[in-house]
Symmetry: C2
Subunit: 472 residues, 2 copies
């Protein structure tokens, strides 16, 4: 067997790849290789080199040879050696010849000062301490198979925690087996498009996320807009379409819950035509009034696919969402995800399971609900004082409100906001391009959960300055 | 404004969704709703209910009403109340009517006793303590934007750490800007297929992962097999193909590194035809002899795309990999990933960046290298004693070896292994279906890194019993 380049006694240093080729003594060859690595920029200034004993063992050369090479390169100024800090690459006195270090990352200095764009919880509210504690508990007791190839169905621990949580909080009727973990609602929509083929076209709400419409179009699903009024989408005319995508808890973005008659009607439609109801439960946990609005899924778990995620309640960074499926679709959706889990980290799935099971998720959602309600109240109060003609709607739930604007003024207000350093979206951004129905008129979609606490008052002030003056 | 259903003073309990409808007093309505939630199985036995004060505040009813409803349901046996443990759903004495709890998860009791399938590091070797410590350090100092929507390019901290690490250990020449984070090599291949369109067809090695060939076919890329010998793939006849996918560090699965002349030749081909070299660096860190084999990428960073991941070195569970790209492809690949980061968790990207920067990744790789080498030596020694006619190849690197078998015996040996409770793959599983080239003949691909420590000797014993007898 070949001699090994790893010396077990020396083996816990840093790794260094060097090609020892060309003429000369071993010391000369090693010095040339190290100089070349520094000159080319491959070894950056400050990089710590392995101890000479490790390097000698790795390369199969005498320790003295490695030690001498280091010492000479220190003398030449390529390396520095300091007691306790080891041998490092010196601060650059030789211009690197490699072009690759000259790239600059793009300049982000033109960001707006204030951000009221919907759909993003304030990132400073992430419960770091509680999350890390859950990670520690979860990983300490986890079985080894967590670190194996993974199951596209999702970790059983998380599916179990979600089945209990969604039943308790959203009235969902399901079992862990019927839940499939995905990376978020967008991923869930792609999977449903792949599984159903989207042959007959899908109905979507006339107002909704352009991002969702675009991904459905990419997946070959033709979308047909449904008019929206104060009772949510008008679901009376679905005909032979294959599916309908709804936001029943809180129509996105206009803000009303789907009315009880329409809930019953859409489920009847699904039963009689074999169609599917896709329920995007994007902010079902954030209601501020007393009437709880349960999931449509509870009316018929065999006809409704509920999709949700932690993106609004915790953070979009985790890439964890869920699909609650009719039994007959589970295997197809798991197969559509691919051979192995390629999306959500299993360690974070376990952490979320522990976060839910320990009650930390409930506590976080409650804390956020209080914070959002306080912000909503502040928004309403400021507008009542400074822009009394502006009507605010969609405020019973969610993380955003809609400000109704005088007809024809929306684009001017969005532009005026930009001049105030405020990023905010107009309703037009959300309208389906084929929609002829304009019940919501002109308006602003104000995401009041987005700014950090210290910037909220400033954001509201900038908003008021952008709105049409109170006295015409 | 409507009264709120959240009472701030009571707000840190569990959430519970109940529909209070129908005739009767508030207490009767609440009791009916709770009974129904338990009867339907929506509230599982043992589920902890919110304190009656929280529930009363949530539902906007008097505290006494909620307390009375709890007390009566305890008396009826639906709930239990114990000091310090709160009010919980009682162990089921009423059969649930919901069908959803009757599902059973599939039975996995027929797993093999021993596992020598390649490609999966022993999950029990995951460095839980060091990983958790890195997570704590990373999340404690992270800026808030980590918890925002995310950048499909990948976290700058991780791209910076990888640029330094890959330069130092694999000789890669790049900058953080040219690195794009993906969920693994499979994801990287999909992105490259999307970006290049795969119009002209790609060359792949005649032996390789069927999983990769399948995903390329799904993406519309026609693959052409390249013959493989002891110097790796024969890259002489690439002609007008659009790209060539290689495993230069350690041909997968036959085991030799790509020879120096072929490295130069494939880069020349790429320069003269505008083709791309896709370098799957799947186990470049695990070499046991003294000759380091650097990345082909270093020969021409503008023609070679290097793809790697932590799946073999740390765990496939993290879903973190990287692509080192020519500058001209960076923006296209980032765009192909989609509008936001939908794959890798940003918190785990930060944790990995800290894990690398702190030296913990180097230490882990070294420890694993020692362990793999010890296992490889044990495999070779056991075979020399018990199956001296079996030649072992591809052992200078990686996490697997190839055992050459007498012609025509491969299927029988894989079957005999299954009878011994041993999962192991034959070379035929990896052969391109259109390949007419059979240089590797019959053989077994033995993943010696897969079993946990305690099961390795048993796995080797089962392997020897499955091999053809020493005396024919």
């Amino acid at each position: 067997m070949a001699e090994s380049w790893v010396n077990p006694a020396e083996s816990l240093g840093a790794d260094l790849h060097l090609e020892l080729t060309g003429p000369g003594s071993k010391r000369a060859v090693l010095m040339r290789a190290l100089r070349e690595a520094v000159r080319s920029g491959r070894l950056a200034p400050g990089t710590r080199l392995p101890p000479y004993r490790s390097l000698a063992a790795d390369l199969g050369i005498a320790r003295n040879t490695a030690a001498d090479a280091y010492a000479e390169l220190v003398a030449e100024g390529w390396l520095t050696a300091r007691q306790g800090s080891g041998t490092r690459v010196a601060a650059q006195q030789v211009a690197p010849t490699s072009p690759v270090r000259r790239q600059r990352t793009p300049d982000h200095s033109h960001r707006p000062t204030y951000d009221l764009v919907q759909g993003r919880p304030d990132p400073s509210a992430f419960p770091r301490g509680a999350w890390l504690a859950a990670a520690r508990r979860a990983l300490t007791v986890a079985s080894h198979d967590v670190f194996g190839p993974g199951d596209p169905h999702g970790r059983a621990e998380l599916r179990e925690a979600l089945a209990g949580y969604l039943a308790r909080v959203r009235g969902v009727r399901t079992s862990p087996r019927r839940i499939v973990i995905c990376s978020g609602v967008a991923h869930g929509l792609r999977l449903m498009a792949a599984v159903t083929g989207g042959r007959r076209g899908w109905a979507v709400e006339a107002y909704g996320l352009p991002f969702h419409r675009a991904l459905l179009a990419d997946a070959g699903v033709h979308t047909v807009p449904l008019p929206v009024d104060e009772h949510g989408a008008r679901v009376g005319e679905l005909g032979r379409l294959g599916a309908v995508l709804l936001t029943p808890a809180h129509q996105f973005p206009t803000g009303g819950p789907l009315g009880p008659e329409r809930r019953a009607a859409v489920v009847d439609w699904a039963r009689s035509t074999g169609g599917l109801v896709l329920e995007d439960d994007y902010d079902g946990e954030f209601r501020y009034d007393r009437r709880p609005v349960g999931a449509v899924q509870s009316l018929d778990p065999d006809r409704v696919v509920l999709m949700g995620s932690v993106s609004k309640s915790l953070s979009p960074t985790l890439r964890i969402g869920w699909m609650v499926l009719p039994e007959r679709l589970v295997d197809d959706v798991v197969a559509a995800k691919g051979e192995r889990e390629q999306w959500s980290s299993a360690t974070e799935q376990l952490t979320l399971a522990e976060f839910i099971a320990s009650g930390a998720y409930d506590r976080h959602v409650r804390r956020m609900r209080q914070r959002h309600r306080r912000r909503r109240d502040q928004l309403v109060a400021v507008l009542a004082e400074r822009a009394p003609r502006v009507r605010v709607t969609g405020i019973a739930a969610g993380l955003h409100a809609v400000l109704e604007l005088p007809p024809g003024s929306e684009r001017a207000v969005v532009k005026a906001a930009a001049w105030q350093g405020l990023a905010v979206e107009g309703l037009a951004d959300f309208r389906h391009p084929e929609s002829t129905d304009l019940p919501a008129g002109d308006g602003l979609v104000v995401g009041y959960a987005t700014p950090p606490e210290h910037a909220y008052a400033g954001a509201l002030d900038a908003l008021c300055r952008a709105l049409p003056p109170a006295q015409p």
